[in-house]
């Protein structure tokens, strides 16, 4: 699949924003490292909303006809893309009400704040789930058609969220002892899940050129693709990366997204070092997202010469 930069940026930025909201709520509900002041809750949420909004704006660059984007909320009963849009938009009013409560000085002891906390928490988890499901439902791309896909999207979002929360707590001058353990837990879980995904995409397990052409009892080869230059189909689905480059990039993902943050975060003592490690993890996850698209093989490539997908 063609790795579109707007979509890569969107899924990573929004994913980390929703992850930050999730982790923020976990940390204040369970009083991790002594919680936060009302003002700090508001600042943290605004950072999350900034990331989410930047991501959503970038996603609209992917649309060829954005003036109809508002219609994308209409088919939430069947389409995960529509569900994602509905969830992402309804997230805003609830979060603003929630922030208003904090601003007015109503903390978790207030019934309405508590109710809104639950709703915002559910929303932030569900948007990342919907983003993953949008890819996982496609039977045409066997590599994505697995429950590992939403698991990866959710875990990587929460991992970046917890790193962001750690950075912000350094910035506020708050303790991070328990949060560091949570960070390591997310780094380990997300890293393991990604490893499982890399094993999963290794072997072709979808349709073959034989079932695509219905000649299942003979060898089938593409003789002529029928066009002299690129088409929409080859531009969108014909993307191929060399095996060697994929391996290099996978190592880069592991190094930047998981290994470097996990090794150095427990030692980091300042806002600057935490920020550097968080940005390193972002770089790793951006490469991960690029690979997610670049490695995926669509079944239509069977009509362009691939033997298996």
């Amino acid at each position: 699949m063609h790795p579109a930069l707007s979509v890569i940026f969107f899924t990573v930025m929004s994913g980390s924003g929703y992850g930050l909201m999730t982790l923020l709520i976990i940390s204040i509900v369970f009083d991790v490292d002594g919680g936060m002041s009302h003002q700090q809750v508001i600042v943290t949420s605004l950072v999350a909303l900034g990331l989410i909004t930047a991501g959503l704006l970038s996603s609209s660059f992917h649309l060829a006809n954005p003036k109809n984007a508002w219609r994308s909320m209409s088919r939430f009963r069947t389409s995960w893309l529509s569900r994602e849009a509905v969830l992402a938009i309804t997230f805003y009013p609830f979060t603003f009400l929630w922030l208003l409560q904090w601003y007015l000085g109503h903390g978790l002891e207030n019934r309405w704040t508590l109710l809104l906390t639950v709703l915002v928490f559910m929303g932030s988890v569900m948007v990342n789930f919907a983003t993953g499901m949008l890819y996982a439902t496609l039977k045409t791309i066997p590599q994505w058609n697995t429950s590992l896909t939403p698991a990866n999207f959710m875990m990587l979002g929460m991992m970046l969220g917890s790193l962001l929360l750690t950075t912000l707590r350094f910035y506020f001058g708050l303790p991070v002892e328990q949060l560091l353990i949570i960070d390591l837990g997310f780094l380990a879980t997300a890293g393991t899940l990604k490893l499982m995904y890399f094993f999963w995409v290794g072997k072709p397990h979808g349709p073959s050129i034989n079932t695509a052409t219905m000649f299942t009892r003979a060898t089938v080869r593409l003789f002529d693709v029928g066009h002299t230059s690129g088409t929409f189909l080859t531009d969108e689905f014909g993307y191929q990366v060399a095996r060697f480059r994929i391996m290099l990039l996978r190592y880069a993902v592991y190094l930047f997204a998981f290994i470097i943050p996990a090794l150095f975060l427990p030692m980091s003592m300042s806002f600057e070092s935490a920020l550097t490690l968080t940005l390193t993890a972002f770089l790793g996850v951006l490469i991960e997202r690029w690979l997610f698209f670049a490695e995926a093989r669509h079944v239509v490539t069977l009509y362009h010469g691939n033997q298996r997908v």
């Binding site: 909320m73 069947t78 389409s79 893309l81 045409t140 791309i141 230059s229 969108e236 239509v300």
Partner: protein
């Protein structure tokens, strides 16, 4: 009704006439235009509803070239419709035709990702998704003579490789052909239940591609060589 096409791979000669007539008819049709990008350059490209690929089946010398026209299969379980977030893609209840409403489409490409058969192409000029309409603006047109109320690709095909009909009627021309010739769907394992069916080449005696060393072939070879000189 469940309208669709049967494509006879035994007689398709790969002439591309169906694709050209499709483009000609539909570019001024309901979902037109079928925009071309740089049509007179070295790398012409553009939107097509129907594309023909050529495959080699079997191994030399028992091999055969098969020409493979592909357009929308008007699937029963059309995931392109279920994934569309705007409701622009829809499947008609009355005849099973899958269409895109250009006024609602936001050009997100998601439906083209969900289609296994490469039937959907985004028009970069107007930013909407385009696909085969089963010539909906011909097949119901009362102003046309009854024999002309068929998709233009079917009428145009010089080899009669394309047939149009109702798959819900057990005695329709298309169902008879599928029964008699053992018609099949492409990639049935994905579960889209495509309506269009493909007829495999007829079983005939295998003729190796290489000629035997007969006297006639030797004479032919000699003639060919002397003409070439």
């Amino acid at each position: 009704m469940r309208l669709g096409l049967v494509i006879d791979l035994d007689v398709c000669v790969g002439c591309n006439a169906c694709a050209v007539s499709c483009k000609q008819w539909n570019t001024s049709g309901t979902t037109g235009p079928l925009t071309d990008y740089a049509p007179y350059s070295k790398d012409p490209s553009g939107v097509w509803f129907n594309r023909i690929r050529n495959f080699e089946i079997g191994d030399y010398p028992n091999n055969k070239t098969v020409h493979f026209p592909m357009s929308c299969m008007h699937c029963e379980d059309a995931a392109c419709v279920t994934v569309c977030p705007t409701g622009a893609s829809y499947k008609r209840k009355e005849d099973g035709i899958v269409l895109v409403d250009q006024d609602k489409c936001m050009g997100c490409n998601y439906c083209s990702w969900a289609c296994p058969y490469g039937a959907r192409e985004l028009d970069r000029e107007d930013g909407t998704m385009k696909k085969c309409t089963l010539c909906i603006d011909r097949i119901y047109d009362k102003n046309l003579a009854p024999e002309d109320r068929q998709p233009t690709c079917v009428i145009t095909c010089p080899a009669h490789a394309r047939h149009f009909g109702d798959f819900d009627d057990p005695n329709s021309n298309v169902n008879k052909l599928v029964r008699e010739r053992g018609g099949n769907a492409l990639m049935p394992e994905l579960g889209y239940r495509p309506t269009n069916m493909y007829l495999p080449p007829r079983a005939v005696k295998q003729e190796p591609t290489v000629q035997k060393d007969s006297i006639i072939s030797k004479v032919k070879d000699w003639v060919n060589r002397s003409i070439a000189r």
